[in-house]
């Protein structure tokens, strides 16, 4: 088990291989469907003009994400009325929905790690090699347990996206993940899918 402090260096990222269990420490930010679409449309493809606090938020999150980690998570948060935010439940959401966006976001912001569940596809795997970056798998549904590793909520951006879709800046201690896609082209998801496909063909051939 390796304990890593964020931000992550390129050397650290390159040293991680599929199957490595890791405990993450430091500051990370959540971002899921609305955040990824917003980042890509507004700042990467620029198909949409910045509005409201967009530019301000962009400048604020850039240094947080550069060398950092994005967590695909829509948490349950208490203290919404008092702004004394606390993560109550915070497991990963399914990552594959960000497949159209993730590689672009990794490159644009120099992201070193993405945490989620279920794995991602070929575009993200290619970007992991180029940036370099790793995909880190958390246990889906283990929300109360993971929330305990979130020691502080430092702030929130884009709360108008709604609580699950907002970008929450957190400090974590020993946040548990496993590398399932590395920066050398390795992907546990590719091998599990290939094996299950062969088994499916065998089963379909039976009456």
């Amino acid at each position: 088990m390796r304990t890593l402090k964020m931000p992550l260096s390129d050397d650290t990222v390159r040293s991680l291989k599929v199957g490595d269990p890791v405990l993450l420490n430091g500051i990370m930010i959540t971002g899921r469907d609305a955040a990824h679409k917003w980042m890509v449309d507004t700042f990467i493809k620029q198909s949409r003009h910045p509005q409201g606090d967009d530019l301000e938020v962009y400048e604020a999150i850039k240094p947080l994400i550069a060398g950092g980690v994005i967590y695909h998570c829509g948490p349950v948060v208490s203290g919404l009325d008092t702004k004394q935010y606390k993560f109550v439940a915070a497991g990963p959401t399914t990552s594959i929905r960000e497949e159209p966006y993730q590689g672009m976001v990794m490159k644009h912001f120099n992201v070193k790690g993405v945490i989620g569940k279920g794995g991602m596809g070929p575009k993200t795997l290619a970007a992991c090699q180029d940036v370099p970056c790793v995909y880190l798998h958390a246990i889906g549904g283990a929300a109360s347990l993971i929330a305990q590793t979130v020691t502080r909520v430092l702030g929130v951006y884009k709360l108008d996206f709604g609580v699950p879709e907002a970008m929450w800046v957190t400090e974590v201690k020993d946040f548990p993940v496993v590398v399932t896609m590395d920066s050398h082209g390795g992907s546990l998801h590719v091998s599990v899918e290939a094996h299950s496909k062969a088994m499916l063909q065998e089963l379909l051939a039976q009456a």
Binding site: G19, A34, C73, G74, P75, V76, V77, S78, V88, A89, A90, G91, T93, T94, I96, R97, K117, G118, G119, H137, I139, G140, G141, A142, A143, S144, L145, I146, A147, Q148, F161, G162, V163, P164, E165, P176, V178, T180, L188, H189, S191, V192, E193, H195, S196, K197, M199, L200, L203, L204, A207
Partner: protein, 290 residues
Amino acid sequence: MHDITENILELVRLTSTDLPPDVEASIHQATEREEPGSAARGALETILKNVELSRKNSTPICQDTGTPIFYVYYPAGWSTRLLRQQIEAAVVQATQKAYLRPNSVDSITGKNSGNNLGGKHFPSIHFEEVDGDSLTIELMLKGGGCENVGAQYSLPNDALNAGRDLAGVRKVVLDAVYQAQGQGCAPGILGVAIGGDRGSSYYASKETLYRKLGDTNPEPQLDTLEKRLVEEGNQLGIGPMGFGGKTTLLGTKITHLNRLPASFFVSVSYMCWAYRRRKMTITADLVRYE
């Protein structure tokens, strides 16, 4: 008719923060089957630890508290209009208490209502009048990750060589499990409906998920198919979280509806391991949760 908002709130709390005993026992058994030290076993051990912690602290097992799906079986004389109001009030309170995540989003504006209400269909409530004098409310919290990997097939399906019979049903269900990989938070539980129209078929596939894991399908050929699908689904080797392993499915439940001569739908609702479903029965002043 008295106000049962408090009781419904307790039903929501219990559903979100504790796993039904049959599901937890099934995950325990699955853990024992996986190789010591494997990623699959590690995932299941983490899942069990999380359930214990959630129960102790009354916090949601999963942050995706899903679509609240209520089935209300009411005796004559109860007002479904008042019951709906009380369910909605309980859902709002449960959101304030952080038993539920605000999960109801306007599909056009993208705005989250913040309180889990929104239109006629959120939360999802089904009413049915029944004999006797007991009111029963069943609740399932079905997360988005597993809902997204649900699938509906129209038979015959040439690509899978699946015809309009139970052998064809078996093939498309196995394909659905393969397509889902680990993305529905495996190990999963399948609700399968054969027949109906596209809408009724999906509803029935969810209704069948209210059955207990260890029960027996009253129709022997469906019972056989349920058991075979669990065994063969597990042979796919997708495993907990899609990490690879022996446990891809914890159960399969099959039901059937009459269909049009032209249509033969097979609908598969995939439920994640966080199989949050509970039942509350009210008879006179006695309230029972199970």
